[in-house]
Symmetry: C2
């Protein structure tokens, strides 16, 4: 699969919630300085260790962000979708990327240069604060996930991840998760072995919590799933 990259002209970042606090003028130059591209599933946006020149806004599609751990096993840190930004963490720290990002659903991304970001932070304190809050939100998520992964069983975590995916990517009319992951990707998110995911999904199906057909996961007993997930209070 080739990285079919085709520049796109008419995309604007003006509607992005992340840029809500920008003035018209700032938006104008932002839109001028960004570079958009269309990427096919499987394309890699940037690799762990690479030098970043900017961050990316996701206009459409889905991206998985992961770290490479022991034996090259990937740990998925998050899924990003329309309206999200990626690569900003390492960029702001001025380090080379500590994650890899890969398209899992055909996407359109806009690249915003580091300099533009710095400029906005410097000139627009509302933007700086908004940025700060985005990082803080992600840090909160991370801390919660550390607690989960340290204290919960794989079964509980799988249920929880399914609920999280439901909240992030919604269900279609048929109560089916609008994100399609391989069993391995699910395993790399939950932090377990692929076989365990397969077995647990089957169990969930037997228990009438979900229905499976291929990669489609249909939630048929939400309350039951929530119960299995054993939520403390956080994540809905």
């Amino acid at each position: 699969m080739k990285n079919l990259i085709e520049p796109l002209d008419d995309i604007t970042l003006s509607g992005f919630r992340f840029f809500k606090s920008l003035s018209d003028e700032e938006l104008k130059s932002l839109n001028y300085e960004k570079t958009c591209s269309s990427l096919k599933k499987g394309s890699i946006i940037y690799k762990e260790g690479s030098r970043l020149t900017g961050f990316y806004c996701i206009v459409r599609g889905i991206v998985k962000v992961y770290k490479t751990g022991i034996d090259g096993k990937e740990q998925i840190i998050r899924f990003a979708r329309k309206g999200d930004i990626i690569a900003y963490r390492s960029l702001l720290s001025q380090e080379s990327a500590c994650t890899t990002s890969k398209i899992i659903e055909d996407a359109i991304l806009c690249h915003v240069p580091y300099k533009t970001l710095l400029n906005l932070i410097e000139k627009n304190s509302s933007f700086a604060l908004a940025m700060l809050r985005i990082v803080c939100a992600e840090l909160k998520e991370a801390n919660e996930y550390i607690t989960d992964i340290a204290q919960k069983t794989v079964r509980e975590r799988l249920a929880e991840i399914l609920l999280l995916l439901k909240d992030s990517f919604d269900l279609d009319a048929d109560q089916t998760l609008q994100i399609s992951l391989t069993r391995e990707e699910l395993a790399n998110t939950v932090g377990t072995a692929t076989e365990s995911i397969i077995r647990l999904l089957s169990e969930f199906k037997q228990d009438k919590l979900i229905d499976l057909q291929g990669r489609k996961i249909k939630i048929i007993n939400l309350a039951g799933l929530i119960k299995v997930a054993n939520l403390t209070n956080n994540r809905s």
Copy 2:
């Protein structure tokens, strides 16, 4: 143990690396607006769920920051020491605290009001950027820990935590860790059961990696520990 709080007059935050980018004038009003206190081991600085009015700078002592998970089991998110700041995450997100912070070594803290923080972020873009980089650094750590906890054995993680503690709190002349934790606290950091920590520490001792006397942990084979920790590349 009582929360013996005694206001302290002559403490200044001017030397804090975190405030490096402040002007003399900003420092002056910061020092005026802060409130310092001396807290004994065991004191709780703030509790999960409480409303925060500011963040805290640690002038001396050690603090553990933890989340309460399943069955009230605590998951230690980080240890903070001189020069570190705590409580800023929830504060910036304007949420109630999602962690609890407790003194584990007699400490002096300075409370800086939210308004002061906001003001600095608004008026001093270098400070805003510095703040941003602090949050980013913590997010990086968190992501790395997620990968570890998801992929490594308890044995590996324990070795790694010992190394981390060594880097954060240094060793005394005798190669002994300058932070004293109960086995339970170690367990709650590593994300395992207390008994497992006890057994693994004994094994490490048998393997001549460390020496134990009470809560004192002496590192006698650093290279060996590093090997056990099975570091990918990140944390030293």
